[in-house]
Symmetry: C6
Subunit: 211 residues, 6 copies
């Protein structure tokens, strides 16, 4: 039972990524959650150093592009961010969850809903470029099996998709990007999730907000 | 004498879990205790990194769902939380104590009594899903031997129960869940323990509270 | 000269434990000492992680049961606690010094005198249970050789005592406990040591106290 | 696709360096980014200790020469600095990115545009000297392949350039330096990038600046 | 030239100890130095964990017995303490420098002069006991060679001295102690060193003290 | 090109030391630099623990002897100190750079010019003694090759100099010291460097100083 299926988009901050391990491709979930706090970031899920760096880069990019993402930069100091990647028993590493992290964090801070049946894979950089990653064929087979309909990839990974038998993926849509802002535009809907958290800035700090 | 027996539910914060080791299944106790403080979390019991992460995820989930759990979120900064898992000489790891941690911490912060003769096993996630775990057969045999009457498991582990000889477990009740909130609803009684701590929020801070 | 003898009970915070090593049993001393401070805990004596955890659990238990132990909980933030276990050249580990730690710390914070010619061995938990430990026979032989007259043990270790030749231990008294509070009641006398420190709470903080 | 090409100079803080690995030379990008903060430095990109030290030295040099670089030294405490070196999966180490780090950080704090089609390699010191580095031939071949037109090098590395077939590099310009300030003068244009951040000092701190 | 000779007692805080290594005995110097600060302790000299613990225990004992040692306990928070043990290239460990550390720190905080031509070796405990150490014969030969006239040892080490040919040590004096306070009384003269630091408590803190 | 030559004395805080490695002797540069701050010390240059300890000891000595060195002790809390030892790719360790560190730090805090064509090698202690070091012959050959005219050494290293062919070193001057204050007196000129930093104490803190 360790091959996962797509699980819906009701919760802000949860985005579907694609993983490639020695036993083949699989989907994975990046879970980002906010609680009243002071800007601390917590990472769980048995993550290696490179994968942890992806979260740090994603957060740095969001901080530097807060205005463009329509996030009041002052809220970063009023919430603690927790990022988890199930399952806990599986060690995970590598940069390929970068755009998934970016999307999950942006969704958490905007409470915007993630597009349905969407998955993604790609490395992020600090200057906003999306970099290509490996294992594309295995990841796409896993995505199809998990009921994913659309996939976001780096433009440089297009050639890997072209090597897959066209008939097999004829009912899937692929988006090729080279800019991180394009990922967010493709992945997040303009509407907020139901029961969205109120992340707007509070003059008196977060304490008062929840009386 | 290292096969433990069920020990009652008089104390808030103590919940029975199920463990699976190379020498078979056993029950274990998650002990959560609060003392006046500032929101620090301490973990003891020879725990590995993945098991420590379960505690961090449980706490993050409780913080994010404080209202639903009827906990004033402001008390998190007025108490220190200590989680211990006896026995100290045994190294422990893995994510399967997740729902047991969640229940123990919720009981500590609400002082609600834990249901009698209940044990549980299952991984937790940040978005509130319960994930399946391994070693179910051995864990259930240990639960029966330890006088456990009810067990909470992930829905995906139901197939593992069906593989156990029905006659052997005919006097046990199994609850299959996929949502973490359901674990709390099943495991915690509406009443508080006797001599419950007063965890309500104090305007002047915790110091004054105990004069 | 590394087999130690009992050394009296003049000093608060010093309690005799029982150790079991590859070269046989021995007694050991848990030394707990307070100095004006802010609640910091320092551990020395070449201690392994599990033994350090015993000190943390003992302190958590004392904090949570301060009222029952007749300690004003506010003094915990006005003193620094140092715990040392001689001798420095010997690495030490394991949970069996738990009740000895508990007794030493309680004696330090109450300045109550420890019962004469008493030793003890047993693991502690956060919920107040005493757990059994190994090496009982070797420990008891070492206790007798060191002039110990009374020993506190976990109830589950009674069977280990029954295996020792009765004649050999006929002049020793054994106390079997399952609750940590019972250890304190058995081990600490109601009187304070001579020249006891004044640990009562000071309004203005500890600084003024010692002008 | 892991041999990179030159990518333009639109963004302040991004500078092209030259790397030398077991599989030959390559260009790399040092990405430096500022966000409102308190002077914290974050380093990502799978960097070894010596490469991290380069960033620390570059920052120390910039702090000590702020006036000469026309940076108000008070802004260092009003911004957090993040330095990333893609790609995340590749471990990187050594001191040869020093002058590239220096240029990237200076560009970030001044928002001055980096000269077009420029790359560089050289170690930095605290007293302002540029030191020679290895792998020059491989680095230059990679630079040419990546469409680099000008290269900054340590004066002591001139002999390495003279060993390369002159015809091959006839359309490239080489700048030999021994002083770190000369690198900045050669590499950064007097103009700021489009949409430059406003890094000037704010009396009331950075918070107010972005209302 | 790595066999050291006695070097006088002009400086407060410098005390001669005895070491025992694979190449025989030697004397060593514990150097303790105070500078205006906030109570920080710094340890240098390539020290192992057990030797570092000796310094921590010595400091804890001095804090707890400040009155008896005629030190105003408030000065501990107004000075930083640095302890160094030359030579830097030699790794050092073990508890046997304990009483030497205790004497050096007490001399630093009282500025009392150390007795001439004195060396010492012995482990310390938190409750004030001096414990025996090994390598006595080699240490005493080294002390004699280094022009030491008096040696302080644990009472339990007396038997080791009796095994040394009496004629060889006939011009040396040995002091056997079991209590740490006796070490200080034997080792420190009532007079202060020339040009002693003024360690008395300052109302306004240490800053003003040195205007 | 990794055998360095003497580089002048224009910059305060830069002092020439002597190193001895498996490939022979060499000179090295200790670079100390101050920037407005709060007393933090940063060490770079691929330094081992013993070499880092030399910097800590040098700083402790300077703090304790500030008056004698004519440094206002209050400035230590108004500047951050960075010490770098090029080249970054070479791991360095050992105590022999001690007096070079001491001289570099004193020059940085006084802005006094270092004597021309001077190098040095020797271990430092906390009580002010200079200790002998190894590899003297190789270090002196390297010093001569690098155009060094004067060398400061420990008195105990004089015998190593006498073993070098006199004719070879006839145009070099050797200073033998046993006291650390003598190193500073020999190495630093009474005049400040050109464009010296103003390190004097500022009432309002360092912030105002650079408006
Ligand atoms: Ca999976
Ligand atoms: Ca992914
Ligand atoms: Ca068990
Ligand atoms: Ca469990
Ligand atoms: Ca012993
Ligand atoms: Ca014990
Ligand atoms: Ca590349
Ligand atoms: Ca480079
Ligand atoms: Ca020596
Ligand atoms: Ca000694
Ligand atoms: Ca060199
Ligand atoms: Ca040197």
């Amino acid at each position: 039972y360790d091959k996962d299926a797509y699980e819906g988009n009701e919760v802000a901050g949860v985005v579907t990524g694609l993983a490639w391990t020695s036993v083949g491709g699989d989907i994975l979930f990046i879970e980002a959650s906010l609680s009243p706090g002071k800007g601390k970031m917590t990472l769980t899920g048995n993550l290696g150093d490179v994968m942890k760096e992806s979260a740090v880069i994603a957060m740095a990019y969001i901080r530097a592009h807060a205005q463009e993402l329509e996030i009041d930069h002052r809220v970063f100091d009023q919430w603690d961010l927790h990022i988890h990647v199930p399952a806990g028993a599986t060690p995970k590493d590598g940069p390929s969850a970068g755009i998934t992290m970016l999307t999950a964090l942006t969704s958490a801070f905007t409470q915007r809903q993630v597009k349905q049946h969407l998955a993604m894979t790609g490395e992020i950089t600090l200057r906003g470029k999306v970099l290509p990653v490996g294992g594309i064929k295995e990841k796409i087979l896993a995505a199809k099996r998990a009921n994913i309909k659309e996939v976001i990839l780096c433009k440089s990974n297009q050639k890997d998709i072209l090597e897959i038998k066209a008939d097999y993926i004829k009912d899937m849509t692929f988006h090729y990007v080279s800019n991180m802002m394009d990922v967010v535009k493709l992945a997040l809907l303009p509407v907020k999730v139901k029961n969205a958290l109120d992340i707007s800035y509070r003059e008196e700090g977060n304490k008062q907000k929840q009386d």
